[in-house]
Assembly symmetry: C2
Homo-oligomer: 334 residues x 2
């Protein structure tokens, strides 16, 4: 198996990404193609004591798409960027999957331009793996690839999310919930209400509406579907609440000697807790529905997160996820 | 000033609500009309050592709209409920404002049926007062009254939210942000993108897009506008994240003697912290755009929360908020 890794994308320090790639190559015994500026990559490899060879190779690119660039224009203009070079390599089957920690919008636009959609899937969906207090993750589709959805798009997200949960998360009969406000059928907005009826007839295990306060706590389902705007708001609201609590704790902890002492004793628990809820540290977000295995790593990924994202890519490739996604819309058994 | 308080609504223990009403009457020197089952109210008053009189009076109702009842049907059928009786009293000017801790959907539907809209305001918006780590609150409109919005509805929310921030929160020139994903103009879904252009021309102080992870932390604006579905998802996502952290802390705290000791020392800080982020404890949510001052208190309100909700009602009445809302759509200066 060969994984293409964009080591220039986003706000990253290429050294961290190269390190993640090299570690994943060793750990999972696979080949890595590092896409980026060759001198930068070589210097990182040298620092790591790793050598360029068949397991770790370099694909040269000349430019970088920054995090704040308008996605569509950037992808059209910067054909020599690490992202677009990597996507072309994936299309030409010079690799089985692409991992990029870059501008999410650019990864979505670039994937649609370069790879296209899987025939029969109208819109791509980005998956976030989210934690819950019981320790098990759940998947949310879509968290930002398709921000204006029709009910049938959400039905595709439900079907693709189920295949992802089976192939990558190893859940044999994933339960799917529809994110809404109110639990009863018909509660929510027009999109949720129409989608509910369609999901009842879809070949998935539909568990009804779920509300956003339940997800991290009860983990009522394995897969949650929503439009990409709502999913992105949910994701960032959770991130914001965790961040707010951490900064309140930090401020409170420095307020008295007693609190400082308490904090010292609690530090391992607090660290574990924040780590548990920090979805940044948890691998990558697969972009489902495009014609290739594409994983978006978070813009602030460190080497650990890159190893996690490559692990997701590896599972998706070895399980045949793309084939299962294509078969699901052909009406074949998956 | 006379405030009508529905003491039967929702999951409440009437005694807590009666206590909140009696305390608010004393604290703010106003009259309270308690709507509910007279024997239940009288027994609560007796326990509190309070007496029925001109400052605390009773309006009898026979039934209750439960939290899980379908709002529209419940309001139509249960004309003798505490909510509907209270709304009729408000319409007949037997009070200046209504506070109900009941079924939010029923309060919205009942207010629209009984009071109607302020002419020129197409849809009502429910306001949540939310906390931020810097201690100051911000207001979000809408958090669930109107779940399918057109861009012009959001412009009305922005205008109504500005009047609320000025009249009730005491912010002289409130800054308004549009909840979206991505900060630049045009980022987000079609609704956000179209609303952005309209807000640039609206007679408010528009500060551009805000993202959900910024709100509790940086508090970039005083008022955030979004459609009611997205606002409700945001609210409950925040609630869920806070709840998840509290339960992880509780689990972690019982794990070792060292952690227990640390927790004991940190307890005051943790309690303060959770209180700070717990919007349940913060007064009530005004329903803007209906023809009367209606405040929804949270379904799990205790006496303190009821005092807070009555405080919001009192400020809205004494500032002339309803008149300002009506004037704003007549094109008059507010």
């Amino acid at each position: 198996m060969q994984i293409i890794l964009d080591v220039m994308g986003g706000d990253q320090i290429p050294g961290n990404l190269v390190e993640g790639g090299v570690r994943a190559a060793r750990e999972f015994d696979l080949d890595i193609v590092l896409v980026g500026d060759p001198p930068v990559i070589r210097s990182s490899l040298k620092k790591l004591g790793a050598i360029e060879g068949s397991q770790v190779s370099i694909l040269a690119s000349e430019s970088v798409i920054r995090m704040d660039e308008p996605p569509v224009q950037a992808v059209r203009k910067k054909r020599d960027s690490s992202l677009v070079r990597g996507l072309h390599a994936l299309r030409e089957q010079d690799g089985d999957a692409l991992v990029s920690p870059g501008n999410t919008g650019a990864v979505v636009a670039g994937s649609l331009f370069t790879l296209g959609r899987i025939p029969g899937i109208p819109r791509p969906g980005l998956v976030a793996n989210l934690p819950s207090v019981d320790g098990a993750d759940f998947a949310m589709v879509d968290v930002g690839a398709t921000v204006d959805c029709m009910p049938e798009h959400l039905v595709h997200f439900a079907s693709m999310g189920s295949i992802y949960a089976r192939d990558v998360m190893g859940i044999s009969r994933p339960r799917v919930g529809l994110l809404s406000i109110g639990e009863e059928k018909g509660k929510g907005n027009r999109l949720a209400s129409k989608t509910f009826s369609l999901l009842q007839d879809a070949p998935i295990t539909f568990a009804g509406n779920v509300e956003s306060h339940q997800l991290l706590n009860g983990r009522p389902v394995d897969v949650v579907v929503c439009d990409g705007f709502v999913g992105n708001v949910f994701l960032k609201a959770t991130e914001g609440a965790v961040g707010a609590i951490v900064s309140l704790l930090k401020a409170g902890l420095s307020s008295s000697r007693r609190a400082k002492l308490g904090a010292m004793m609690l530090r391992p628990i607090l660290r574990h807790l924040v780590g548990k809820l920090d979805y940044h540290s948890r691998g990558g977000a697969p972009l489902l529905g495009v014609n290739g295995v594409v994983i978006v790593a978070h813009g602030r990924s460190d080497a650990d997160a890159i190893v996690g994202a490559i692990d997701v890519a590896r599972r998706a490739v070895s399980s045949g996820m793309r084939k299962h996604l294509a078969e699901s819309v052909e009406g074949k058994a998956t």
